[in-house]
């Protein structure tokens, strides 16, 4: 495949019902009103020279290279800032214009180093291209400009350099940072020829820059350039694929030299990201070829033995033999599997098929159990389907944005940029979070209402908001009457109107002032299109499912569903959480969220798979571990998950794993869980396989193989071979055939195929005969379940209470530069921003305990104890402390408990009662983990063991 470049129309394309006819260089063309002359010309194939314009940014009109002549107008207007008009006659090439453009180019080149042949952007430089396009042959002012040459190259950022000597001060980087990313880290310092792009700090690394790459993407020269390009040279081929980090699912172009990635470039055609990216997807891909990758299968009899490298065949035979032995000894239900939200839909589907058809039980679960399982339950109960209601671009139509229990600027940064753009345009913002997240007050954005509730009181707050809506006559009666079950609504309305749900009563439990709750409710109900965006701060509670239903109630009561700008929108953590759930990874349901007890559905699967399937739900992850501790669950196949780090109550998890007789881990690295494994199947990164991911907006996007699997097999091939060793006949030559089977068995996917994905770029399910091109917005005319169902959501305080012994509440979260358990991002330069998890604590709590910033502190809960360094933070409220869980050595989940959501067993990560005190040592668990960790990872290498 050759290197492809996306066309640049110079200014953003417009959509309008009104078409405008004009003539460009004697050719008539029709374009939507609002289109610039530059874009109109580009659409018909005429590239007007430009430097400061690019179609991801609004026109700026500074470079004066895109001048044109327009009949009847004086002068030579800039085509980028001139909108088309009916009857306009434009000439893009005349002698007068050519002279002007050459003159402009002369000025630029007079202060630009002429080192094109050795420049890292050679062949990929718009200045070079434009010099050619305007026919520059001479520079009358000489070529010895010294304006920028005394400024040193800033190479502080680990991924890109800033070489001011090559800067033409077009402001594209500054505008990208403002308009696309919304960080405002860059500015132009000085005037005239003294103008310089600056970060406002000593260098890029020590500035507000978040390394999203938007400035690098926008730069037309080598001023901002990837270090990988400087080191390796220009890419020679490219492949369109999808990012494997968070649930935004950005489209990327993997630009390659042979089988080496040179850079990952965000795709403008990617409908989730529209050309934007974050530091992880754009730059943190080096883990894929990191030296820690395990590329040979390994086995061992006991976890205290060294690993022994074996052939794939031996690994499959051994693993299959062990699983069959265990089932023979302990029963058919004694084994199970965990699918991965980092793997593709096809791989996930295969694993659950292996469990149901090969293991003969339904003991399959996925990591969504510990993050968004309450979303599935809550939205299916109220709306009829287990997914968010909108596409990402819907936020551009929102007038009020309610963010609850989510930190989009860190965890979903590319979507956060869309959201911030809308907020800068004037949409109102309500943030409900115990921790003062960036969005509460950031560049040109300030929340209209920030409800700093106590952890564990989400449901009380959502009921109080609903109370105001109902008791102050703010219900959208027409919507409720037409779209919802009236009997359920009336019961719910009576419930929320009760005194205990009034803001004044809720103030006592939540800590949020009643007048703030009332004001936020009024704004949400009356401010126009109101949308809810939420994350794990909603789901990871003992009332996670209740809260999801509470938000659905609020959206229905205010009529905020079924159109652009509104909706209930989960922000999914990992790249394919939505897909893993869609594919039937939960133990109680097949793909498409159909219960295993449904005879018609089960018979359909049985018919295609030629097996008898169990009609009973299997074990969920926590149940599997409980059963393992009890000694009845003995074998687990884990694809791409690290439950020993990510799941709560680590010591309980590891007790369960130690009790098993065969744990199979399939992963890129020897992760924490692999310390307790007996078989290791080396995994393949997203660059090494074909498949699809489904993002948080239900968008199915292709993942395309850019290089051969390092271990010889893609993950789907590994599962296939394991299934074969177990005696299962699964016949696929390519993941597209697995998708065909998914489509044949899943009503919401019947229209999905690789051919259609190639044609459309991506598809939002449902995609079937009723929606052949997919469904951007759900529940437009009716809810999937028919009438929307209001659910009564009584607030029940969690049993996890503060006590004299544990007087603080710990809550956990994520940071921008690291991803989940960190196995990927910690094998990149991202560690420069976050090399350890710290405990954020309010100054009041710190002072009471004699804790200073940077002190090592012990954090104790009823589950365990770890030590972290303290960071005194104004983000925290008194009584609440916070940490991230990205580093295994931190053991953040040693502290969290086994309390979980009532409906789904999703762990209550967000509320743990703890004590914090100064210490001078790591905890016993941390010391033991470090001592035993290395022992459990020893590999006895044999040069000829595996091919």
């Amino acid at each position: 495949m050759s290197l492809s470049r996306e066309k640049d129309y110079g200014t953003p394309l417009r959509t309008s019902q009104i078409l405008v006819t004009l003539s460009i260089d004697g050719v008539q063309t029709r374009v939507p009103a609002g289109t610039s002359v530059m874009a109109a010309a580009a659409k018909m194939g005429t590239q007007i020279p430009k430097l400061c314009a690019t179609d991801t940014l609004e026109a700026f009109g500074s470079c004066r290279l895109c001048l044109v002549e327009i009949e009847g107008r004086r002068g030579t207007p800039a085509s980028c800032t001139t909108p088309v008009e009916d009857g306009m006659i434009v000439r893009t090439q005349t002698k007068r214009i050519a002279d002007l453009r050459r003159g402009v180019m002369e000025l630029y080149i007079s202060d630009h180093p002429l080192d094109c042949l050795t420049c890292s952007a050679n062949g990929d430089c718009e200045l070079q291209d434009m010099a050619g396009a305007v026919g520059l042959r001479d520079v009358r002012y000489g070529q010895d400009g010294e304006r920028h040459r005394t400024v040193a190259v800033d190479d502080s950022n680990p991924y890109f350099t800033f070489d001011s000597s090559k800067c033409i001060v077009c402001s594209r980087c500054v505008r990208a940072c403002e308009d696309v990313q919304g960080t405002f880290a860059l500015t132009i310092d000085g005037r005239g020829m003294g103008s310089l792009v600056t970060t406002g700090g000593p260098d890029f690394l020590n500035s507000e820059c978040v390394s999203c790459g938007a400035c690098v993407q926008a730069c037309p020269t080598a001023t901002l350039n990837e270090k990988s390009v400087i080191e390796m040279g220009a890419p020679t081929r490219s492949i369109d694929t999808t990012c494997a980090y968070c649930g935004v699912g950005c489209g990327f172009r993997a630009e390659m030299q042979g089988d080496k990635v040179v850079r990952m470039v965000p795709s403008k055609a990617g409908k989730a990201n529209e050309g934007h990216s974050c530091v992880k997807g754009r730059f943190a891909w080096g883990y894929a070829t990191h030296k820690d990758r395990i590329t040979k299968p390994m086995i061992r009899a006991n976890i205290t033995d060294p690993w022994r490298e074996v052939t794939w065949d031996e690994a499959f035979t051994h693993a299959a033999s062990e699983f069959r032995r265990i089932q023979g000894a302990y029963g058919i239900d004694s084994i199970g599997a965990i699918t991965s939200s980092r793997c593709t839909n096809e791989e996930t589907f295969l694993v659950q098929k292996l469990v149901r058809a090969g293991f003969g039980n339904n003991n399959v679960d996925t990591c969504a159990r510990v993050c968004h399982s309450p979303t599935g339950y809550g939205l299916k109960t109220t709306f009829g389907t287990s997914a968010g209601t909108q596409d990402f671009k819907s936020v551009a139509m929102s007038d009020v944005i309610l963010v609850i229990g989510a930190n989009p600027t860190d965890a979903h940064p590319v979507f956060a940029s869309r959201m911030k753009k809308r907020l800068r345009q004037g949409a109102k913002l309500i943030v409900i979070d115990p921790r003062r997240i960036d969005l509460v007050r950031t560049a040109h954005i300030e929340a209209d209402h920030y409800l700093a509730l106590k952890p564990g009181t989400n449901v009380a707050i959502i009921n109080a908001l609903a109370h105001v809506v109902v008791t102050e006559g703010l219900v959208s009666e027409a919507f409720v009457r037409e779209r919802c079950d009236l009997s359920d609504f009336e019961s719910w309305a009576r419930f929320v109107a009760r005194h205990e749900n009034a803001p004044e009563a809720v103030e006592k439990v939540s800590g949020v002032a009643a007048h703030e709750i009332r004001a936020a409710a009024r704004l949400f109900a009356t401010g126009g299109n109101a949308a809810i965006y939420y994350g794990l701060g909603v789901t990871e509670h003992s009332q996670g499912s209740t809260m999801v239903m509470g938000m659905a109630n609020l959206a229905m009561a205010t009529g905020n569903l079924g159109r652009d700008g509104v909706g209930v929108n989960p922000l999914r953590g990992q790249n394919n959480v939505q897909g893993a759930c869609d594919m039937g990874s939960f133990p109680h349901e097949f793909s498409g969220y159909r219960h295993v007890s449904d005879d018609a559905t089960r018979e359909m699967f049985e018919g295609l798979w030629s097996v008898t399937l169990s009609p009973e739900p299997g074990l969920r992850i926590p149940n599997m571990l409980d059963e393992a501790v009890e000694g009845r669950f003995k074998g687990l196949y884990i694809q791409g998950e690290d439950i020993a780090q990510s799941d709560p109550d680590t010591q309980h998890v590891t007790r369960g794993l130690r009790n098993m007789e065969c744990v199979i881990v399939q992963d890129l690295f020897l992760n924490e869980t692999a310390k307790y494994a007996h078989v290791f199947f080396p995994g393949s990164s997203f660059l090494e396989k074909d498949g699809t991911f489904t993002n948080a907006e239900r968008r199915i996007s292709r993942v395309r193989k850019a290089m051969a699997p390092q271990a010889g097999l893609a993950d789907w091939e590994t599962t296939l071979a394991f299934a074969k060793a177990l005696g299962c006949v699964f016949a696929y030559d390519h993941p597209s055939q697995i998708m065909d089977e998914i489509a044949a068995l899943t009503p919401t996917f019947t229209g999905v195929s690789y051919a259609k994905l190639d044609e459309l770029g991506s598809i939002q399910w449902p995609c079937n005969e009723n929606a052949p091109y997919g469904t951007p917005i759900m529940h437009v005319e009716r809810f999937v379940r028919g009438k929307g169902k209001f659910m009564i959501t009584e607030f029940v305080p969690t049993d996890e209470r503060t006590t004299q012994r544990f007087p603080l509440i710990l809550t956990t979260g994520r940071i921008l530069s690291q991803y989940n358990v960190g196995v990927q991002t910690q094998r990149t330069a991202n560690n420069i921003w976050h090399d350890e998890d710290v405990l954020e604590i309010h100054a009041f709590d710190a002072e009471n305990r004699g804790i200073r910033d940077g002190d090592l502190v012990a954090i104790q809960s009823r589950s365990g104890e770890v030590a972290l360094h303290a960071r005194i933070s104004e983000r925290m409220q008194p009584g609440v402390v916070y940490t991230t869980f990205h580093h295994a050595k931190s053991g953040a989940n040693v502290i969290t408990t086994d309390y979980s959501d009532w409906a789904t067993n999703c762990p209550e990560y967000k509320v743990t009662a703890v004590q914090v005190q100064r210490t001078n040592r790591w905890s016993d668990w941390q010391e033991e983990d470090r001592a035993s960790g290395d022992l459990l990872r020893i590999i006895e290498r044999k040069a000829d063991a595996a091919e």
């Binding site: 239900d333 739900p617 149940n623 029940v796």
Partner: protein, 80 residues
């Protein structure tokens, strides 16, 4: 699984459905446990129920009685 954990889970479910009318609430508890608990978990909670059901909230107990009858084939009610 430990009876203590199963009792806690059953009680949590009952607490959610307690706002519904009594008969519907018991059926809802039964339906939820039938839909999401594996047979081995159900057998264990039945055993605990048979041994007196210590710690079970009345509604959890009522729901489990409904489900136990259903699992024994003697119930033709709301559960699947």
């Amino acid at each position: 699984m430990s009876a203590h954990k199963l009792v806690r889970m059953a009680n949590q479910i009952a607490i959610f459905f307690r706002t519904q009318p009594e008969e519907a609430a018991a059926a809802a508890v039964a339906d939820h446990i039938k839909s999401f608990w594996s047979p081995v978990m159900r057998r264990e909670i039945y055993a605990h129920l048979g041994a007196g059901g210590e710690g079970l909230e009345p509604l959890a107990r009522a729901g489990l009685e409904v489900l136990k009858a259903c699992d024994a084939g003697a119930y033709d009610g709301v559960t699947k």
